[in-house]
């Protein structure tokens, strides 16, 4: 009797242990996700709150704050300034960064190692240092503080992002591909556009997206280099000094939505059609 009971009893605690382990895993994962996304959820939720105060429970649901945004010219200007800056800075870094990465990968020149490290340095420098030094430089050469100055400032810091990503991808590309292309009669430019670029496409798009995001919410460099024009993060920051408003929550929610769309787009674009599906 006791023997049977024992035999039955052993598998049961084991099952329970497995379940307990699974439960603790689930709890852990939930905690991490909560840590990451709870603040954003709060932001989005309060953007629909009728009351100005950020207290729970909410007093009611409204779209008023979004309507207010639509009529806030300053904010709309700041948003488009940010889009302008981020787009230009990203294009600029890609135009300089991709050829630089190819040069690093394919051409041997004296001081190559040093060049590589120097290109990577700006990403390690605090933005405030980049900002101040560029401010001094621009003042010295008489370049007006403007959104264009911000673009140049962002591009210097972001170059490292593009060069590292694209260079890493190029390193994985067999050199025989470019040789085969040349062997088949292609010029250097044809090889670049028809062989190299299609094969580093995902790295270029990925690093471009990252550069765009980093530029879009950049404050320190922008702070020093912008003239009268405001970018969106700068506008939000200056409004915040007058207190947290539900309007800010609404902008924040819109930015979250925009990021989600960007992420979705990049996932769609980066889907590798050449990889076998298993």
């Amino acid at each position: 009797m006791t023997q049977i009971a024992q035999e039955r009893a052993t598998p049961l605690p084991r099952k329970a242990a497995v379940q307990a382990e699974r439960l603790s895993w689930m709890l852990g994962i939930t905690a991490i996700l909560g840590f990451l996304y709870l603040p954003i959820a709060v932001l989005v939720t309060f953007s629909f709150n009728t009351s100005r105060s950020l207290t729970w429970p909410m007093s009611g649901l409204t779209l008023d704050w979004y309507k207010k945004l639509a009529s806030n010219d300053q904010l709309i200007d700041a948003f488009f300034n940010s889009v302008y800056v981020a787009t230009s800075a990203t294009s600029l870094t890609l135009i300089i960064g991709v050829p630089a990465a190819i040069a690093l990968d394919r051409i041997d020149f004296p001081g190559k190692g040093l060049f590589r490290k120097l290109i990577l340095l700006p990403i390690a420098l605090p933005g405030i240092i980049t900002g101040i030094s560029m401010l001094i430089l621009f003042r010295a050469i008489g370049f007006n503080l403007s959104l264009e100055a911000v673009i140049v400032g962002h591009a210097t810091a972001l170059l490292a992002v593009v060069v590292t990503q694209v260079y890493a991808r190029l390193q994985r590309l067999p050199p025989s591909l470019a040789e085969a292309s040349a062997d088949l009669g292609a010029s250097g430019l044809q090889t670049f556009f028809w062989v190299t670029l299609p094969n580093i496409r995902t790295a270029v798009i990925g690093s471009g997206m990252l550069a765009f995001t980093l530029s879009f919410d950049e404050i320190p460099v922008t702070f020093f280099l912008t003239g009268r024009d405001n970018t969106l993060p700068m506008y939000i920051w200056s409004t915040m000094r007058r207190g947290l408003t539900p309007e800010i929550n609404a902008i924040g929610s819109l930015i979250v939505l925009m990021s989600a769309i960007l992420i979705f787009l990049s996932v769609m674009l980066l889907r590798d059609k050449t990889k076998p599906k298993k």
Binding site: S176, A180, S181, A182, L184, G185, A186, W194, T274, P276
Partner: protein
Amino acid sequence: MTTIIETKNLTKKYGDVTGVDDISLSVEEGEFVTLLGPSGCGKSTLLRMLGGFEEPTQGRIMLAGCDVTDVPPSKRAVNMVFQDYALFPHLSAGKNVGYGLRVSGMAKREVIAKSREALALVGLEDRFDAAPHMLSGGQRQRVALARAIVRRPRVLLLDEPLSALDANLREQMQIELKHLHTKVGLTFILVTHDQTEALTMSDRVIVMRNGKIVQSGSPQDLYENPRTGYVAGFIGNTNLFRSRVETEAGKSVITCFGQPLAAPEKSASLSGHDALFGFRPEKAALVSNTEQPRQNTLRGTLADVLYHGKSARLVVDLGPERFVVDVPISDVSGVSGLPQVGDPVALNIEPHNIMVLEDEVTG
């Protein structure tokens, strides 16, 4: 026959290391030439210089009578099949083949027609739209071939094209490559470290070592008359031994690890000198050991028997060295007709089957 490609004193140095050392060779139009040698012998570097991927340190390359030494690969009328095939992963098999035609500005319809034709030539007409990763190793190899021949190059360069394939497929591709060569009538220059590959496919084999050509000739010529011990050992198997040529009672005699053998005629002039000798495993015959001592016989102990189907390879211990001998297995007695491991055996070697080889510093 006209010379299609020629090198004159071609040299490639990497710092202090000489990869290719003063090589002059010429290849006839339509020839299938193989550069054979172990890794690091300079064969690939030589091929890459012919393709324009490496710049020679010294020397010239002539293609169809024109100096192309300084012409970039894109402007040279030669095409290369790369060791890793170098298929463009983002293009279909058909587009890979058509790439070289497209860059030259050919009309799209014509490009497609010609690529289909080239794929058909290698038996892949139905895989036109397949992506490279959907193809098997052998199929990728064929696409690479089709891509290289579709432009009708003056010379087709093949850099170890079969090394990535498994043994069965490799044998099959050797035959196909040979057929393709006959069918398209192009000049093929192939690089390999596999002597079987070289012997099966080529009209002429060029054996290389340390950046230099050791010997060049038809496969049969190289097998039967290797110039040096190195060639004899690299192409097929050879039992090598060193001996002084001595004259006894008007006859030339050599000794193989203490056992006397009649010297081959070719060594008559070497009387009084040391020389390197060798014989092929299939050129020795097993004789019954119980017979009376006879001429041209080596005695030893059977150390191992390797069964090869129609024949067996016997490893014979001669004391300081082990020799290998291939003997046919008779249909009647089978393997049981062979001596047992540990038995004393005697090998008969006729003097005309002994090769006199040039000495070479080994290392």
